[in-house]
Symmetry: C2
Subunit: 325 residues, 2 copies
């Protein structure tokens, strides 16, 4: 089984050739930024062929192509509606663009859903029937698998857990709503809130130094300052992990999953973020479903992007009746 995976990120686009067990034969990367959509398309198709050649697989022997890309998107039509970190990309018919270059079927899903599929297919908890994957980067995304099936939803927004309102009339979110989970735990929102508190409160914190200036404060500087025991950073870390726990608790109560997997910050910060989250969870979820749910970090590390694209190909084939061995 020869699968081509295309992982489109805000900065880089990765192309990978692998199989249905998540074994990678070849991969290459290119910047996502481009002079035009047409230039991007051309370079992407070139890169695909380079990877196929490198792996020694004739293009005609390709079984499927999977694309993992930022939402919002229309998965059936394969259109990227308005990826937040790709300015200028509006209603990009990415599926058709790729499909034109290959005879194999092309499938697409948003990055968080694709990562959930990768965890369910290739991760430490592969085969788990009820799995939630969460990613805390600039924004906050989620992918939900229940009864062994991805929760795609009616209009492809299943798993948009970052925009569950967890505090009515709460903090303003980038989406325009108030009190979204992302407004409390998404990287951009957290950084904005910290900067504002530091500025208006005239607060001294090593976070500024760690970041190299107030304007550059991000989740990494936040974590580094908290690890050093900075008082302001620690109090904020406590509030941050409490909000992470609240949202996970909401999902545990509604869905009773076997496992909740944290990508990004879960991988980077490890037990420093996971331990306080686990400590706070009993406030937000009943003992019974909580006891049955493993709250853990991704085992796929830096390979999750490439694997997520392969997972989209595997799942697409399965849904269309094709065998993915």
């Amino acid at each position: 089984m020869n699968l081509l995976g295309i992982d489109i990120g805000g900065t880089k686009t990765a192309v990978v050739l692998g199989n249905a067990r998540g074994e990678i034969a070849a991969s290459r990367r290119m910047p996502t930024a481009s002079d035009s959509m047409e230039a991007y398309r051309k370079r992407l198709v070139e890169l695909c062929h380079e990877v196929i050649d490198k792996a020694g697989v004739p293009a005609a022997r390709l079984d499927a192509v999977g694309i993992s890309a930022p939402g919002p998107m229309d998965c059936k039509k394969g259109i990227l509606i308005a990826p937040p970190n790709n300015p200028g990309w509006r209603d990009v018919p990415i599926l058709a663009m790729v499909q034109k270059a290959f005879a194999a079927p092309v499938f697409i899903n948003n990055d968080a859903n694709a990562c959930a599929l990768a965890e369910a297919l290739f991760g430490e908890h592969r085969g788990t029937r009820n799995l939630v994957y969460l990613t805390f980067s600039t924004g906050m995304g989620g992918g939900i698998i229940l009864n062994g099936e991805l929760v795609q939803g009616s209009t492809d927004t299943g798993g948009e857990v970052g925009h569950m309102v967890l505090e009515p009339d709460g903090r303003l979110c980038g989406c325009g709503h108030r009190g979204c989970w992302e407004a409390y735990v998404g990287g951009r929102s957290v950084a904005e809130t910290l900067k504002e508190k530091i500025r208006t409160g005239g607060i001294h914190t090593v976070m500024i130094e760690k970041a190299g200036g107030i304007d550059a404060i991000n989740l990494q500087a936040f974590e580094a300052a908290a690890r050093e025991g900075d008082r302001f950073a620690l109090a904020e870390w406590d509030a941050f992990t409490d909000r992470v726990a609240q949202g996970i608790g909401v999902l545990i109560m509604a869905l009773n999953p076997d496992v909740v997997i944290l990508g990004t910050i879960g991988i980077h910060a490890g037990e420093f973020v996971m331990a306080p989250i686990r400590d706070k969870l009993p406030k937000y979820a009943w003992k019974w479903p909580l006891g049955a749910c493993k709250v853990t970090t991704s085992s796929l590390g830096g390979k999750i992007g490439e694997l997520s694209a392969l997972a989209v190909a595997v799942t697409g084939l399965r849904h269309t009746g094709g065998e993915a061995r």
Copy 2:
């Protein structure tokens, strides 16, 4: 296909004989309260045989038995752990009790899940792949169907949406947590909060009269007073419907369902509760998934209990490979 349904409620237990299309041939009821568990079991089995006889179906021709009962429960073992409105019932092996009396397979699920199955099989939106059923009675329950499958969860608590914490450190819930959805929208909690506000604020409201005294205030008196334009009741109705909308919004963002169906209060209060909920939803869910989601009331009315038990039988047969025609 001859299916026996047993719907165990806090007050009444209904037994029904019907088919996989939700057509009911015979039904009877008995009080749930009993001198002993053994007396209840005996009377229940008698009632089952009465219903089977009334329908003219030999017990040997029974294809399956479905039980809808209050949670929490262990569905696989068929044990009612501690139904809140059946004092004295602890670890009741209801499935074994019924199984002893019949050769046909017996299946069980909690009432809210069973109602979701009934909506998906027999309701106006039957066949819908992504459906959320919500019930606001004494407490607050939910049943979730995604990709055509019930979200049972890892330990049978899938759909316990009433205990999603929608306000950290918020109102105390009967479950011991703070800020659960149920603490804001469950009948008992709402009534307690109204009584306390009326007492401490010395508030004059027709709600007292409607209920026949402060102590008797309930959702019905609340609704009646709001319908009459009582100022206090209207302001509280606004807050109540806002909280209902928040929780529905959370589910729409996480799961992107095709339909959200409100039983109980949705049926009783109709547009008087549905219109403000729909008005408030845009604060809590994105336009796109919200536009694709019908937020409506149950079409099954008073028959939903009996149908829910049949739905459990139909679904149980399907999962064990039996055909339910």
